[in-house]
C-alpha cells in the first residue's frame, strides 16, 4: 500500500452567527467567512444550513429570482426538500440525499424555495450550498443542470466495515462519482460508524476541507472536529484520517486550484472588473432571460 505524508490541519472553524438567505435558508458561512475565496480556490462560497426546524406554512419560504454567472452552484440536501426553477426552463425538486449541480456559466436567473408539500408540514432542514468556480475558458459556456438523485450517487463500502462513502464527484479508490466537473474535484459524503476510522488522500496541492454534517470526529488522531464545524487542511501532505466518535456524516471537498484572477461581486464571479460590469449590464438588459417571481 502506498504511504502518504500526513496533511496538517490549517484551521478548524466553529459555525458563526447564522444569517438568512431569503427567508428559507438559515446559514453559517464558511467560505469566504473562514478562509478567503483565493485560499479556497476553486471553492468560492460555502453556506451551511445546519439543522433547523422550519414551522409548517402554506407559503413556501426561500429565495426569489436572482442571477448567477461565472461558476457552478452545488446544493446538497441532507434534510428537507427544495424546489427550484430557472430562466432556461429548467427546474426540479431536490430531496434528502440528492445533489443538484447547476452550471450557471454564461448566466441564469433562478429561484429556490422549500418544496410546497414539504412546507405544509415543515420540519428539520439541513443543506449545503457550495459555489465552484469555473475556469476562465468555461465561464461563458452554456448553462446546464445535473440533477443527481441519491440512487445515482456511487456508494462504496469503506475498508474494515467503517461505513460507507458516497462519491458525488471525482473518484474514490477508482470508483467514479456521477457529477461531471470542469476542473478536477473530488466531493464525497463519508458516513462513518461510531468508533470507525478511515484515511483519505488527495494530491497535496489540492484545496481540501471537510464539513462535519453529523456527529463528531477526531482528525489526524489528535484534533477534535465537532458537529457543524469546518476543517481546512494545509497543503503539506496528501492524507488525513477521520475517526468518528459517534455516527458521523462528513462532507469532503478537494479540488485543484484554478489559479486564475477572481473578480467577484454578489452573484457574479468573473476574472476581470470589465467582465463584472458586462455581467450587470447583461442582467439588466434581459440577457439572462426572464423568470416570474
Amino acid at each position: 500500500m502506498k504511504t502518504y505524508k500526513e496533511r496538517q490541519i490549517e484551521k478548524v472553524t466553529a459555525p458563526g452567527t447564522p444569517h438568512f438567505v431569503g427567508d428559507g435558508f438559515r446559514v453559517h458561512n464558511f467560505i469566504p467567512g473562514s478562509s478567503s475565496m483565493q485560499r479556497m480556490d476553486p471553492f468560492i462560497m460555502l453556506d451551511y444550513n445546519s439543522k433547523y426546524n422550519f414551522p409548517a406554512t402554506d407559503k413556501p419560504k426561500g429565495v426569489g429570482v436572482h442571477p448567477h454567472r461565472g461558476f457552478e452552484t452545488v446544493t446538497i440536501a441532507y434534510k428537507g426538500c427544495v424546489e427550484h426553477g430557472d430562466s432556461a426552463g429548467g427546474g426540479g425538486i431536490i430531496g434528502e440525499g440528492d445533489v443538484q449541480w447547476m452550471t450557471a456559466a454564461s448566466g441564469v436567473l433562478h429561484k429556490e424555495f422549500h418544496e410546497t408539500e414539504w412546507s405544509k408540514t415543515g420540519g428539520e432542514f439541513q443543506m449545503v450550498q457550495l459555489w465552484v468556480n469555473l475556469p476562465a475558458k468555461d465561464k461563458m459556456s452554456a448553462p446546464k443542470y445535473q440533477a443527481i438523485a441519491n440512487a445515482e450517487i456511487t456508494k462504496v463500502a469503506l475498508p474494515n466495515a467503517a461505513g460507507e462513502l458516497e462519491v458525488i464527484a471525482g473518484a474514490y479508490e477508482g470508483e467514479q462519482g456521477p457529477a461531471s466537473t470542469f476542473s478536477p474535484i473530488h466531493m464525497y459524503n463519508v458516513k462513518l460508524k461510531t468508533g470507525a476510522k478511515t484515511q483519505l488522500s488527495f494530491p497535496a496541492h489540492y484545496t481540501t476541507a471537510i464539513l462535519m454534517v453529523e456527529g463528531d470526529a477526531v482528525i489526524n488522531g489528535d484534533t477534535k472536529a465537532e458537529e457543524d464545524h469546518f476543517v481546512m487542511f494545509g497543503n503539506d501532505g496528501e492524507s488525513f484520517t477521520v475517526e468518528a466518535e459517534n455516527n458521523a456524516v462528513i462532507l469532503v471537498l478537494s479540488g485543484e486550484p484554478l489559479k486564475e484572477p477572481i473578480a467577484a461581486h454578489g452573484p457574479f464571479v468573473m476574472n476581470t472588473k470589465e467582465e463584472l460590469i458586462d455581467a450587470f449590464q447583461d442582467f439588466n438588459t434581459g440577457k439572462f432571460g426572464y423568470l416570474e417571481d
Partner: protein, 198 residues
C-alpha cells in the same frame, strides 16, 4: 472608522493629496444608519449632504394618499440631500432613509470651508457637484415627461448597474414613475429581445 470611498473622493475628485486628507480628517463626521432608519423626515430642516461610504439611501416624498414617490437613490460614492432645505433653512418635505445598513459622511458648508482652507481647489469641485446634480435633474425631468418606460429603465440601469439586485422592484418602479407591473413588462420584453437560449 476607515473611509476608503470618501478618502478616494477627496483625492480623485477633490484634488487633495493624501497628506491633505489627513489634515481634514478631524473634521469628518460619520454616521451609521440602520436599515429603514431615517436621516431626514418631512418637517425637519435638512442640515447636511450625505456622502454614502457604504450602503444605499433613498430620498422620497409622500403624496396626498401616502404613497412613496422616490426621487433619488444614493449608493457608494453618491451624495443625497434636500439641498433646498439646507440652503434656505426651511423645513423639508422629503424623507431620506437607508434601505441597507449604511455608513454616511456628513457634508456641510463648514466642512467644505475646512477642506478649502487646506486645498482651495475643493471649492471648485464642490460647485461642480452641484452643477452636475442640476444637469442630472434636468435629464430626469425630461425623461419623466417624455420618455418611454423602456428608455427610462435603460437609462437608470446604465447609471446604477447594481441597484436591480439591491433594491425591491417596486422602489425602482416608483423611481421610474411607472407601476411595478409596467417594470415587469419592460424587463420581460427586454429578455424576449436579448435572451439567447442555449
Amino acid at each position: 472608522m476607515s473611509l476608503p470611498n470618501f478618502t478616494n473622493f477627496l483625492i480623485e475628485k477633490g484634488g487633495l493629496t493624501a497628506e491633505e486628507v489627513l489634515q481634514v480628517t478631524p473634521f469628518m463626521r460619520t454616521e451609521t444608519v440602520a436599515n429603514n432608519a431615517f436621516l431626514l423626515k418631512a418637517g425637519e430642516v435638512c442640515s447636511h449632504s450625505f456622502f454614502v461610504e457604504s450602503g444605499v439611501l433613498r430620498l422620497y416624498a409622500l403624496n396626498e394618499e401616502g404613497k412613496e414617490n422616490i426621487l433619488q437613490f444614493a449608493t457608494e460614492n453618491g451624495i443625497v440631500s434636500d439641498r433646498g432645505s439646507v440652503f434656505f433653512q426651511e423645513p423639508s418635505t422629503y424623507y431620506i432613509d437607508a434601505i441597507e445598513p449604511t455608513v454616511v459622511v456628513l457634508f456641510d458648508e463648514a466642512f467644505v470651508n475646512e477642506v478649502a482652507k487646506v486645498n482651495s481647489s475643493f471649492r471648485v469641485h464642490n460647485e461642480k457637484l452641484l452643477q452636475n446634480h442640476i444637469r442630472h435633474l434636468y435629464k430626469r425631468v425630461s425623461l419623466l415627461i417624455g420618455a418611454s418606460a423602456k428608455v427610462r429603465y435603460l437609462e437608470f440601469v446604465q447609471r446604477h448597474p447594481d441597484l436591480m439586485l439591491r433594491v425591491p422592484q417596486w422602489m425602482i418602479a416608483s423611481y421610474l414613475g411607472i407601476t411595478p407591473e409596467s417594470l415587469s413588462r419592460v424587463r420581460k420584453a427586454l429578455a424576449a429581445e436579448n435572451f439567447k437560449s442555449n
